[in-house]
């Protein structure tokens, strides 16, 4: 984007002091409402009936209110709070206020919808709602960074025909007797029309709001940070990771869908607010300064997760997240670094899992051997890698979309082959759809991962053991990704992704390097597969499909990489965590899950095409944004093969 002119003005013309006071008051009310009873009955999940003891959603309201307040005070230069908002941007306050509004509106709506009407709200609930609205109204009166002019974008007028068409479709669908064969078609059509009309209205509303708000970015240089002793800086990093662990643990431990929805609704604006306030940039500067400490702190935070749990319930979720995230990171080598579109990647997880299951000593395995754990892992990784080479060797010589087609095919062929090696339609190896059950737990040098162990007075159950083992695998994959990605090989991969012809002309053997990426990706997925086989006791073919409502499957893996940020480490990890938790926690969406999911993905890709955590390369763009657009040379339309 070219730099447009900006200004710092309020959206709603209020006296500056009044706006600040209103925001503060609203934030206080939101936070305070957490201590009051929101509803009279304990029927709403989480039991929000107590006064003086916040629960569930009330914690979120408290967080949102307090954060807004702190950012507001910091933006006004309150002594002692400079650290909270180095940029002193009021947009950060508005974002936090949006979080408060989202939590309060969502809570009020969810309570009234589930309990049947606004009458179910106690005064605390009313204060919450009012607080959220006041906070945002006040924040809109603060001096915000805005663009001077945002032209109103209006969607293609023909699209608006959908709006009257939707009710017509609805009536038509209802007018047709249910026994007519066209009835279900009409119902589906009416549904699709309604969704499309809704989308058109929403998008147009978004454009209207954009033109009205005109929010923009004013370059606000970070003031030089205060000189702190290095032990304090290290402590800050540790504290930040502790906080991160707490926030993620809170998300994983949410017991009901309402709380998780509220959590997501708050988390998104809060992260955005912290980014705007400059806190995240500060933290990033620290982490860059103390690389090893950061890595250690991140690892320690992840390793202490099982110690925060009282039962194995969520550790099993966390273990599966780790498996999913690790595989996503492996896929990121293939997709993010080398730019190869692999649509059947989950099959490599499957190959590893099946290989491990076959040598696990399971009574259902035709091979009656039980490999020690290290040999089992090596087997899974090696077999998977061999498959990677076998699939890659004939296809990677071709350019373009062949690879996507072949890998998609391979994914399905793998699943169907596993189904057919059942003794009737093929040799008896995998037991077909029953899979290989009763996979014994891993023994690592006499340490039985299936049994609970007590460490430092805390009992770690079976899933905790596997979680920690998987964390080691994840750490290994992170190490491999980081080191290979930033080396001669990694640079060659990125070069191939950027322009294969030019890369070849620089002396890179494209085929060999693509095969290497493919094999490495397959090998890492296979490694994760060996752990997965043991964690889940059973491997079945239907765990490894292209698309399904639940991860991991190839489509979700790809989504995790793209959504999280291609070519980064934390991106796919964050993307995988979100993509795993959302369907898991929002089971109440059931039939609409994939639809809601697709919609969320589309929105995210519109708002943040570079992914949640953009690549360092894309960040560089930021500090060079001042360079004017270049003439692109001759717009010679040479063919792909031409130079």
């Amino acid at each position: 984007m070219t730099t447009t002119s900006t200004e710092t003005t309020p959206v709603i013309p209020l006296p500056a002091r009044a706006a600040a006071a209103l925001t503060g008051l609203g934030a206080l009310a939101t936070a305070a409402s957490a201590g009051l009873s929101w509803t009279w009955t304990s029927d709403f999940p989480g039991d929000l009936t107590y006064t003086g003891s916040p629960a569930g959603l009330q914690w979120l309201a408290l967080t949102a209110g307090l954060l807004t307040l702190v950012l507001l005070l910091a933006a006004h230069g309150t002594p002692g709070l400079h650290w909270a908002a180095p940029t002193r941007s009021h947009n950060a306050v508005l974002l936090a206020a949006t979080g408060a509004l989202a939590v309060s509106l969502y809570s009020v709506t969810a309570i009234s919808a589930e309990l049947g009407g606004l009458a179910n709200l106690e005064p605390g609930g009313w204060i919450l709602g009012a607080g959220g609205i006041l906070t945002v109204l006040g924040a809109l009166g603060l001096p915000l960074d805005r663009r001077t002019h945002v032209p109103l974008r209006i969607l293609d007028r023909r699209l608006f025909l959908l709006v009257p068409a939707a009710p017509i479709g609805w009536f038509a669908a209802h007018a047709i007797p249910g026994d007519k064969p066209v009835a279900p078609v009409m119902t589906a059509l009416a549904g699709a029309l309604a969704i499309a009309a809704g989308a058109v209205l929403l998008i147009q509303l978004g454009h209207l709001a954009n033109t009205w708000l005109r929010l923009g970015t004013v370059e606000r240089p970070l003031p030089a940070p205060r000189q702190l002793p290095s032990w304090v800086e290290v402590l800050l990093i540790v504290a930040a990771f502790g906080l991160g662990l707490f926030a993620i643990t809170f998300g994983i431990d949410t017991e009901y869908g309402e709380l998780f929805t509220g959590y997501l609704l708050l988390a998104a604006p809060v992260v955005a607010a912290l980014a705007k306030s400059g806190l995240i940039a500060r933290l990033r500067a620290l982490t860059v300064k103390y690389r090893p400490v950061t890595t250690g702190a991140a690892f320690a935070a992840a390793a202490s997760f099982p110690f925060t749990q009282t039962s194995d319930q969520y550790t099993s979720v966390a273990t599966n997240i780790l498996i999913f995230a690790t595989v996503a990171l492996g896929l990121n080598i293939v997709v993010g670094l080398a730019g190869l579109l692999d649509l059947g990647y989950v099959a490599f997880l499957g190959v590893g899992a099946y290989a491990a299951a076959l040598v696990s000593g399971s009574p259902a395995s035709p091979i009656h051997v039980q490999f020690p754990f290290w040999a089992a892992m090596l087997t899974g990784a090696a077999v998977s890698m061999v498959f990677g080479v076998l699939i890659g060797a004939p296809t990677l010589r071709l350019r373009g979309d062949y690879l996507a087609i072949v890998t998609l095919g391979f994914g399905e062929i793998f699943r169907i082959t596993m189904l057919n090696l059942n003794g009737t339609t093929g040799p008896k190896i995998t037991n077909g759809s029953n899979g290989i059950p009763r996979i014994p737990d891993l023994q690592i040098f006499g340490f039985d991962l299936g049994k609970p162990h007590t460490v430092a007075g805390i009992e770690l159950g079976r899933f905790s053991n596997y979680y920690l083992l998987m964390l080691l695998v994840t750490a290994l994959v992170v190490l491999v990704f980081a080191r290979v990605g930033n080396s001669r090989i990694g640079r060659a991969w990125v070069a191939i992704r950027e322009d294969e012809t030019a890369a070849e002309a620089m002396g890179i053997n494209g085929f060999r390097l693509k095969l290497l990426a493919f094999a490495l990706g397959a090998c890492l997925a296979g490694l994760a597969g060996t752990v997965q086989a043991h964690v889940s006791y059973t491997v079945t073919p239907d765990q490894y499909t292209f698309a399904e409502a639940l991860p991991p499957n190839s489509a979700f893996l790809l989504a995790a990489v793209i959504l999280g940020g291609m070519g980064t480490i934390s991106g796919p990890l964050a993307g995988a965590t979100l993509l795993f938790l959302i369907p898991k926690k929002l089971e109440f969406l059931s039939d609409y899950q994939l639809l809601a999911f697709g919609a969320a993905l589309i929105v995210l890709m519109r708002v943040r095409p570079e992914g949640l955590i953009p690549n360092r390369r894309q960040q560089l763009e930021f500090h060079e944004a001042a360079i004017p657009a270049q003439p692109t040379g001759e717009p010679t339309a040479l063919t792909k093969a031409g130079a």
């Binding site: 190490l479 080396s487 060079e624 003439p631």
Partner: protein
């Protein structure tokens, strides 16, 4: 001047056909050690196609390309390995990599560190990586881009992108550098600077084969110039020979050769075979 010994590059009878179109027709050319050879011709004459035949991007229908006496395999990475580097007419940088990384990619054939070395990061790895960086920074300094090492390639101004292409090509320590219209889109000052750069490269002992439309540039630089028209080499020689050749003048539709851009000969695409 080409020496009596085996020339650096020896192209004999290269022909490239695309279906019925003969883009390059029986072209022979030699480049000796330390020479700067120009290649000119109207648009669509087949100059870039000729380059592609030399660098393995295209497999010539007929003919042979020898470098230092051995026949080049038609694989771009092997050609680069052998010692021929090139730039592209329509800049093909790795747009989302930094300037330094672009040059480091150019070092690929001259370094060996594989995947295990990258994972284990032993002393050998660090040494090789440091050497590569040092060499890359040298080349950036040589082309005047040292201050922009950490910028994204796509954010460089046009002229600097052309320079970066040259730095990246030089990173493979070539014996012969092929430049495809290195001054296209440059203003006169930048063009003069590019001339200096080409001379400086030759002074490093690297021979150069350059395609250009800017006649002044060509005649200032080149020891010999070959003229390609409709895929055929119609004349080769020094400035006088080329400027006074009837066929060259006709090919450029009478446009004076001193002009910076020759008239476009759109009609040459039809084959005469």
């Amino acid at each position: 001047m080409s020496t009596a010994a085996t020339p650096l590059l020896d192209v004999t009878g290269v022909t490239m056909r695309f279906g019925g179109l003969t883009a390059v027709n029986d072209v022979s050319l030699t480049v000796g050690e330390g020479e700067i050879i120009g290649l000119i011709g109207p648009n669509g004459a087949g100059k870039t196609t000729f380059f592609n035949c030399l660098t393995g991007l295209y497999v010539p229908t007929e003919g042979q390309v020898r470098y230092r006496g051995t026949v080049l395999p038609p694989k771009p990475h092997l050609v680069t390995q052998a010692g021929i580097a090139r730039t592209f007419q329509n800049i093909r940088l790795f747009a989302n990599m930094t300037v330094l990384e672009n040059v480091l990619v150019g070092r690929h054939t001259r370094t060996k560190e594989g995947i295990f070395s990258a994972i284990l990061r032993g002393p050998g790895y660090h040494r090789a990586e440091a050497e590569s960086r040092e060499r890359a920074m040298e080349l950036l300094a040589f082309t005047g881009l040292a201050g922009k090492a950490d910028h994204l390639a796509r954010n460089l101004p046009y002229g600097e992108q052309r320079k970066l292409e040259i730095a990246r090509a030089l990173a493979s320590d070539p014996g012969l550098l092929l430049l495809d219209e290195p001054t296209a889109g440059m203003n006169p000052q930048e063009t003069r600077a590019a001339e200096e750069l080409v001379f400086a490269i030759r002074d490093k002992g690297i021979s150069i084969l350059v395609i250009e439309h800017d006649m002044r540039f060509i005649f200032n630089l080149c020891d010999r110039t070959a003229v390609l028209v409709q895929g055929q080499k119609i004349v080769e020689g020094d400035r006088e020979t080329v400027q006074n050749d009837e066929r060259v003048i006709t090919a450029y539709l009478g446009a004076p050769l001193e002009g910076t851009t020759p008239a476009v000969a759109e009609t040459v695409t039809e084959t005469d075979q």
